[in-house]
């Protein structure tokens, strides 16, 4: 297991429970030591990031350095999350890298995501351990013991 600076937590936002489960395993397979939290909607994700609602007293759970965000969700979707996230207080979003995920073969979403400055990376589902490793290595520094 490898530890990375600023990557104590990873947040998965996807309305599909099995997908969150799979992604959690994929991250495990990539041997990254981080607390993986998964939520199934945008509201809960924002609450988690800002210590609001049911997450008011959860200072012990590390906040994400990496957010995997599904674009296509019922109700508030990935783009809505980005809009809300952009308006958050700086202290909540200082270090997070956001990865937008969508089902492959969708050219238009890709074009849109590329023009959104705060989306650092855009990836096609399914997520693979190698993809996670590459990502983490390019955005975070490994902590050697």
């Amino acid at each position: 297991m490898k530890k990375y600076q600023g990557l104590e937590g990873i947040l998965l936002i996807d309305d599909d429970l099995p997908t969150n489960f799979i992604h959690k395993k994929v991250i495990e397979k990539a041997s990254i030591e981080a607390v993986v939290k998964s939520v199934t909607n945008v509201e809960e994700a924002l609450d988690f990031i800002t210590y609001s609602g049911i997450y008011e007293d959860t200072l012990d759970i590390p906040r994400p350095g990496l957010i995997f965000l599904d674009i296509n969700m019922p109700g508030l979707n990935g783009w809505d999350f980005m809009d809300a996230y952009r308006q958050l207080d700086k202290r909540f979003k200082a270090t997070a890298v956001i990865i937008m995920l969508t089902t492959s073969l969708d050219p238009d979403n890709k074009e849109l995501a590329l023009i959104d400055k705060e989306v650092v990376v855009f990836l096609n589902k399914p997520l693979k351990p190698e993809m996670v490793t590459t990502l983490v290595n390019s955005y975070f520094k490994e902590i050697s013991d």
């Binding site: 599909d16 099995p18 997908t19 799979i22 395993k25 296509n72 089902t103 492959s104 073969l105 969708d106 050219p107 589902k125 399914p126």
Partner: protein, 369 residues
Amino acid sequence: MDPHTKQLQLLKLVDEIEGYAILVLDKRGNIETWNNGAEKIKGYKAEEVIGRHIRIFYTDLDLMISLPERLLEEAAQKGTAYNESWRVRKDKTMFWGSVTITALHDDDGNITGFAKVTRDLTERMLTETTIRQHAEDLEIKNKEIEQFVYIASHDLQEPLFTVTSFIEFFRTEYGHLLDENANTYLNFIVQATDRMKNLIKNLLDYSQLGSKKKLAKIDCKQLLDTLTVDLDSQIKKSGAKIHYGNLPVIRGYPTELSQLFQNLISNAIKFRDKKESPEIEISALKEHDGWHFKVKDNGIGIDPRFQEKIFLIFQRLHGRHEYEGNGIGLAHCKKIVELHGGKIFVESNQSKGSSFVFTIPFKPNLITA
């Protein structure tokens, strides 16, 4: 015949002509003469209308904007006035009238009245409207279908991905507990999901086909030179020989056209007669309606009963264990050819094998997809 008799004949003709309402008006637009055509089109007899103003033929709406007066004014100013709109018959029904009003002058150039020629174009008008409506409906329907296919295939992928992932987890975490039978089951599940994945991808490709097309000049010979390099391994493996001489430079959609040739060549190789190596001949003929391309092979041929069915999406003629595929290649071809405004069909060769013929019009850009 003396000129006077000729004039009388002309008058008689005008009087009897039925397809046109031909009337003479006085300076103010009151009716002076009335022919058979006028009676037929508008329903009035001569004695009912002579002396009345042409306003009686106009709808309330046109009267509100003083259309008859404006047309008479225009004819007086410019010599002639043309108008198409709904007109009213005696029985209050409407017809679509095409009306030309021409000013009549005396020897000194003063206006003495007008000649008015009216045609009933209701049928043409209705036909045009119907055709236009059909075209619009069709366009909307096509957009809907494309959207539907896109969304459906998009949403279908996620659960499929879930199944694939969990089979993998199952294998890695519980593989050691499974016997041969259980493994066979899993293999079948994997095969089915793989096939489903391909079907969805093909369906999506099909719906996206031509959505970003760009018209350009295409050197067909050059296109085939490149294509045969791309298909090299397939060609070598089958021992196929591909012949093509001079091919034209045409206007079309390069990516799509290349895909079209690729599909046809791949098919010719795939459906070869196992007893001999495939011979594929590609030629083009200039005809009045555009270029006629022919891709001829010596393969297994196609039963005439299925020569139309093969172009439908997901239609296959052979079992999956005989020839693999999803039955989308020729549907793609058809869509590409139609994108160019052409047609595609298959013919049986006299000797053996089949020939796919498709047309590409000289000006594909005139056809809007």
